[in-house]
Symmetry: C2
Subunit: 333 residues, 2 copies
């Protein structure tokens, strides 16, 4: 196996976040499921946006947020995702490159605009996402650079890639190349509704060992195994994947392999502002821990630290150097 040029390569929907505050009534009025990610078309995007308050914009996208977080810890990273060659695509491309992430996916020259997620943050800090995939729908197998995948120690893929029609082919292509090159493949289940849409396919990916490592939060885990019992679900997860990492909000996380289960507490926070990116940044820290061979417990602590940083401000990307933050807390860097 050749030396890896990158520690982690992320593949996901390139989505620009439009974040605004909203009360519970707004969610009800628009028929939104609080805490979830709903796919919306252009007309619904326009209707929601028209009714939204003033917003803050930031680049987002689940896997992209994770990769930016991993880069902030100091890892060598790359990203594959599709924007259009429009103004928002320009902002998106700038941000991910400025974060130190190699990003060379060709922007679409026509078709839908760069994808946007209209994110409503309620007073309790919970975020409800409404995503217009836009140009992200155009991601396909041709965008998967074989050399890039083969040169990356871990390929990290988001479950959301099952939504755009061609992206799942890109996903499978990337996983196949990665395993052919002796690399690891990680998957995040993304969202419990996403799991509901693609349960059988996700289980198939796990059981056929197309993926080696699975990230899920409790809701996603319960949705995957259609059980409300955590231990039952965890037992099944351990049977289905080499390594499963389950985040449990303020209860911390559980890292589960066939051999053992390690529980890691959450990091204390001063004030929950916006949960957007919590899971993404947890994955960032955990992946960084794996890259540094830090062990599961330390990896979990790195994940918890990154998640704690991101939920204390608006937006899903870190506002400080996670490398410095980890250093300040005596964690591996």
């Amino acid at each position: 196996m050749a030396d890896a040029k990158y520690d982690v390569l992320g593949i996901g929907n390139a989505i620009f976040d439009v974040l605004g505050q909203a009360d519970e009534g707004f969610l009800v009025r628009h028929g939104m499921t609080k805490g979830g990610m709903a796919l919306i078309d252009e007309a619904r995007a326009a209707a929601i946006y028209k009714d939204m308050g003033p917003a803050t914009e930031m680049s987002g996208g689940s896997a992209a947020n994770t990769i930016v977080g991993t880069a902030s810890f100091g890892a060598r990273t790359a990203f594959i995702g599709k924007v259009r060659d429009d103004q928002i695509g320009g902002l998106y491309s700038h941000d991910i490159r400025a974060a130190g992430v190699a990003f060379a996916t060709k922007a679409a020259a026509g078709g839908p605009a760069t994808g946007c997620s209209y994110i409503l943050v309620t007073p309790d800090g919970e975020r409800t996402m409404n995503t217009y995939l836009g140009a992200a729908q155009e991601l396909g197998p041709a965008d998967i650079d074989e050399n890039l995948v083969a040169a990356s120690r871990i390929v990290y893929l988001e479950g959301y890639l099952w939504d755009p029609a061609n992206a799942k082919q890109a996903f499978v292509k990337a996983a196949t190349i990665a395993h052919g090159a002796g690399r690891q493949v990680a998957l995040t289940l993304s969202d419990s509704f996403c799991v509901d849409r693609y349960r059988d396919e996700f289980l198939d990916l796990m059981r056929k060992r197309t993926v080696d490592l699975v990230f899920a939060n409790e809701a996603e885990l319960h949705a995957l195994y259609q059980t409300s019992d955590f231990d039952t679900a965890l037992t099944q997860l351990r049977a289905d994947t080499k390594l499963g990492v389950v985040t449990r909000s303020e209860k911390g996380c559980v890292v589960a392999s066939a051999e053992r289960v390690v529980a890691v507490p959450a990091f204390p926070i001063e004030k929950l502002v916006d949960t957007t990116g919590a899971g993404d940044l947890f994955a960032a820290g955990f992946l960084f821990g794996l890259v540094r061979n830090a062990g599961h417990e330390a990896a979990g602590r790195l994940g918890a630290l990154a998640a704690a940083e991101v939920i204390q401000h608006i937006g899903a990307r870190p506002q400080v150097s996670l490398k410095e933050l980890a250093g300040q807390h005596g964690l591996p860097v």
Copy 2:
């Protein structure tokens, strides 16, 4: 004088803010004057942006920030400013309308893109702005809606309007209509370098009573009268304008009329994050105080409160309801 439909109408450059963190070395490397606003062309904008770290985007523009702040206190407000009919212009128009501000200026259908300011926030919280005016340059007298101006109790204009060629004509037209309708005209000097560029014209506006109320910070006041002595400058200000309000950062502000000078302390803050919008939001609170006939001291306190809110987070627009915040502090709402 007919009843006013609006309490405050703002006229200014419609500018989208691209905010990123930078160290002092970045400013030096790019030849930037810390704390100032420099006008840049498209090529320099591209060069700065390419070198900037990941950014957060928010609608901005000095007078627009003030108007949004005044609206957040509960005043009836309107704004005149020019964007293009591009994606960023769409975000801009959404944000100001979503803040409850009437905004009907026709977007440019051609010409330069919507204006952007590349704002570097250094670790000390100071912001350094690099503004590409873009479509804001297209603002002209034709954009000044006579009925709107005549229906607004206070017309608030930014000194930055002296930069785009046609906007100063728009400024004078608005001031003339306002006075013809018995309304008040307020001016912010905007920036000490802006004062250096247009000192004589600004003094002329004041001495000819084209403007009734002038906002300045200390640096702008000293630049206006080319003196380093505060008291000398203040004495001249009192001679030149009916009402002058000078902000002095953590020293609070001074409200000066021919009759008297009132000093109002700054509001205590927990942590300075980003000074972007401090002066704009001070003006928002002060104007709201005038609208409510709250007296100069209370107006100064409202200004100090709004400034304190905005400097404790990234971006130049309030993140909470200033009406609620004022109520919590026992200030007039």
